[in-house]
């Protein structure tokens, strides 16, 4: 398994880094937060990302995509993560697009994927509920058969970018087990209530109050929901881990610069061995996280049978690393680190949210052990 980038991948990383550096100063994140922006990201920036091919890269060419690998998507996610760009990469490329790609009918793919590729559609997945933490099987939302379709009742939380979505993919339990349905967020009986989370990204509670969907809203086949959802969440774990790796790396680099410039006792605080060794430990942790993320991204395309374990490996490593780096980043910045005026706190908040998205490290270790048969 190749764990280094080729020239084109290096070029993509450089392009993405330039783009997010120019388009996403920390002030943009702060403004979106302070304005209580209903969407939580910039449609203009999203469109520009589409122009650069970021939204099309991983999608097949027959649906307007570029047919590149998951590694290329992770490269973009990592660079977006460095600058905390809140655009709907996770909701739309990792969740919505993958759900339709892996489980959708030909018609559903034709309807949504080209628009996702061109940056004209936001599609997200509503799978999580208030009880059950990260378990995709913990579904109490019901799907009752109706003539010509189904009636959905229940509540989903942390639905990423639901406020901006053109379509929601919703998991619900019916006679056949768990099924995924494509739901129009503006339909009758669908209520989207924006949540105000610590990272101020667009997430929402979606209440389904007997919302009616047609037969053709079923993603793939009835009862196939869990299988599709598990595969989607594995990929989402890998992609989110790449984003987290970017965030952790940036927070780490900012902290190392601070250690070189901040003076106390007439010397840079980075000359103190107590801080040098802690910084070196963070570097080591990032080395492990990077190896895990690179390996997991390749696994998506090259060894799909091994993906569940590799996805858990990446997510556990990235979660531990990002939290550790962010906590240390705040501590090493001292007083200014805990002010809202300074940017490093944004990384801590994102680290916590990302950790508790798609399962934290302990959850993935348990899953790893289960998959390993012990």
């Amino acid at each position: 398994m190749k764990l280094t980038y080729d020239e084109e991948q290096d070029l993509l990383a450089a392009t993405a880094r330039d783009f997010f550096t120019a388009s996403t100063p920390i002030e943009r994140i702060r403004k979106l937060r302070d304005a209580k922006d209903p969407v939580g990201f910039s449609r203009d920036v999203w469109k520009k990302m589409a122009d650069l091919g970021f939204t099309a890269s991983v999608l097949p060419e027959e649906y307007g995509g570029m047919g590149l690998g998951f590694t290329e998507l992770c490269i973009v996610l990592e660079e977006a993560g460095r600058k905390l760009a809140p655009e709907p990469l996770v909701s739309t490329l990792l969740l919505g697009a993958q759900a339709l790609l892996l489980g959708g009918t030909a018609e559903q793919k034709r309807q949504y994927l080209p628009k996702i590729a061109s940056g004209d559609a936001i599609v997200t997945v509503a799978w999580q509920e208030r009880a059950g933490r990260f378990d995709p099987m913990a579904v109490t939302t019901t799907a009752e058969r109706t003539p010509g379709g189904a009636r959905l009742t229940g509540e989903k939380i942390d639905v990423l970018d639901a406020g901006a979505a053109d379509a929601l993919v919703v998991s619900a339990r019916g006679a056949e087990g768990i099924t995924l349905f494509v739901v129009d967020p503006r339909a009758k009986g669908v209520h989207v209530q924006r949540q105000s989370r610590i990272d101020s990204r667009g997430s929402a509670v979606v209440r389904l109050d007997g919302a009616l969907v047609r037969e053709d809203a079923v993603v793939g086949r009835a009862g196939q929901g869990l299988e599709v959802l598990s595969a989607v969440l594995d990929r989402a774990c890998v992609g989110l881990s790449a984003e987290m790796l970017g965030g952790a790396t940036q927070a780490f680099e900012d902290t190392v610069s601070y250690l070189k410039t901040r003076k106390q006792f007439d010397v840079p605080i980075g000359s103190f061995q107590a801080l040098q060794h802690r910084a070196a430990r963070l570097f080591i942790e990032l080395t492990l996280a990077r190896a895990a993320v690179l390996g997991a991204a390749r696994t998506v395309d090259e060894e799909p049978a091994n993906l569940p374990r590799m996805a858990s490996l990446a997510k556990a490593r990235a979660s531990d690393a990002f939290l550790h780096v962010a906590n240390e980043a705040v501590q090493m910045h001292g007083g200014i680190g805990v002010t809202d005026e300074f940017h490093i706190g944004f990384y801590l908040k994102r680290a916590r949210v990302a950790e508790l998205t798609f399962g934290d490290a302990a959850w993935h270790r348990r899953r790893w052990a289960t998959l390993g048969g012990y």
Partner: protein
């Protein structure tokens, strides 16, 4: 078929025909490969494998042919190693000569030194030991005080080296000696090659807390060494010494990889035995989490090691990455054996004797042995200094 594919096919054929079946799967056992030297007494199959590889130029696959090496490209060398790894076969030749002093001589040795020493390593005739640390110079290696004084065309060495791994089984030793006390300590060190049969060289093993004695003390009492055995300039040995440490650390990282790879299944089996739980999820969630954590970190470590291997085969020399991997590998090894002993509970407390399971006894000895992993080859603290300075650019500290 590309050239590399054809090469792989020919290597497979060679291995199938020549590797003794008894060695398959023994790659990561103790003393698995052939260490060579005048005092060697290898198992017949180990010797047969070595001799077959020697005849094919595969004991030092990537060294230049003129010094007895196989003359293979990096890619070809990697293919040979991959094919061995797949079968868990030990390399035909292992040791300090092949992995440390050999590469160093290729970079810094004189033509005469290369011709004298490299073919003898390739042919397994000479086993090398490392003479770096001293009782008074551990982490502060440059503070070493073993002296060498010029006497005509010889240097005369007096002093003591310690942690000289398997010096009692070695034929030659490379030593760092002080040749100048009037300058900054790093600038007065010379790198010397010493035949251990020279009068005045003596050695004795050091017993470790594990009960094993892989290390020795080596004494130099008026030892006369020809001046042509100086590697690099007189007083300029520190640069050579540091280059060699880079090779040592990457080797240490490599050496950790095998043990780390098999840990998960062994720990899980141990937990099943200790908990009396032959099947299903382990009934102790804390233990499960700890095993998974060691296993997952091991997987990430192996990926990081593989990534370094790939950048190295693209021509990159290992720098501070070796320090990073050394820390990760040694930490993992310690965590693995520490957990192994704790899983066994009271059965993990045995030192020796028939009251204990041999596997438990071995694991407990490994736990004690592993405490040295974060000390030998440069302590973890020294590695952290290297990362802080060379990678992060944090200066000023000691």
């Amino acid at each position: 078929m590309s050239d590399l594919e054809a090469f792989r096919a020919s290597i497979r054929d060679f291995i199938e025909k020549n590797a003794p079946k008894s060695l398959v799967g023994t790659r990561y056992g103790k003393f698995s490969g052939y260490w060579g030297g005048r005092k060697a007494s290898p198992e017949p199959d180990v010797l047969a494998w070595f001799q077959a590889a020697l005849a094919r130029g595969l004991t030092a696959p990537t060294w230049p042919k003129e010094y007895g090496g196989g003359g293979l490209s990096r890619e070809e060398g990697q293919i040979f190693d991959e094919e061995l790894e797949i079968r868990r076969l030990p390399p035909p030749l292992v040791g300090v000569g092949l992995t440390m002093i050999g590469p160093t001589l290729l970079d810094y040795g004189t033509e005469e030194q290369k011709k004298e020493h490299l073919p003898a390593i390739v042919r397994g005739e000479i086993r090398w030991a490392q003479g770096y640390s001293e009782p008074g110079a551990g982490s502060d290696l440059a503070g070493l005080s073993t002296r060498a004084v010029r006497d005509g065309d010889h240097f005369v060495i007096d002093g003591q080296k310690t942690w000289t791994t398997y010096a009692d089984r070695s034929d030659w030793i490379f030593v760092l000696v002080r040749t100048n006390t009037a300058v900054k300590k790093q600038l007065g060190i010379t790198f010397l090659l010493v035949d251990m049969a020279t009068p005045g060289v003596s050695t004795r093993p050091i017993d470790l807390i594990s009960g094993w004695s892989p290390f020795c003390e080596t004494f130099f009492d008026g030892v006369r060494v020809p001046a042509r055995n100086v590697v690099g300039p007189v007083d300029g040995g520190w640069t050579v010494a540091k280059a060699l440490l880079g090779y040592e650390r990457s080797m240490v990282g490599e050496a950790m990889s095998g043990e780390v790879a098999g840990a998960e299944a062994k720990l899980a089996a141990r937990a099943r035995r200790a908990l009396g739980a032959p099947a299903g999820p382990l009934p102790d969630e804390g233990m499960r989490q700890e095993i998974a954590q060691v296993a997952m970190d091991s997987s990430a470590f192996l990926l990081a090691l593989e990534k370094l291997r790939q950048t190295m085969s693209a021509g990159h020399k290992p720098g501070a990455e070796s320090s990073t991997l050394k820390i990760i590998g040694s930490d993992l090894k310690q965590r693995r054996w520490d957990l192994g002993v704790r899983i066994a509970g009271p059965e993990g407390l045995g030192w020796e004797g028939p009251e204990y399971d041999p596997e438990d006894l071995a694991a407990t000895r490994e736990w004690l042995r592993s405490r040295a992993n974060t000390i030998e080859g440069g302590t973890s603290e020294i590695q952290l200094n290297i990362i802080a300075k060379q990678v992060l650019g944090l200066g000023g500290g000691k």
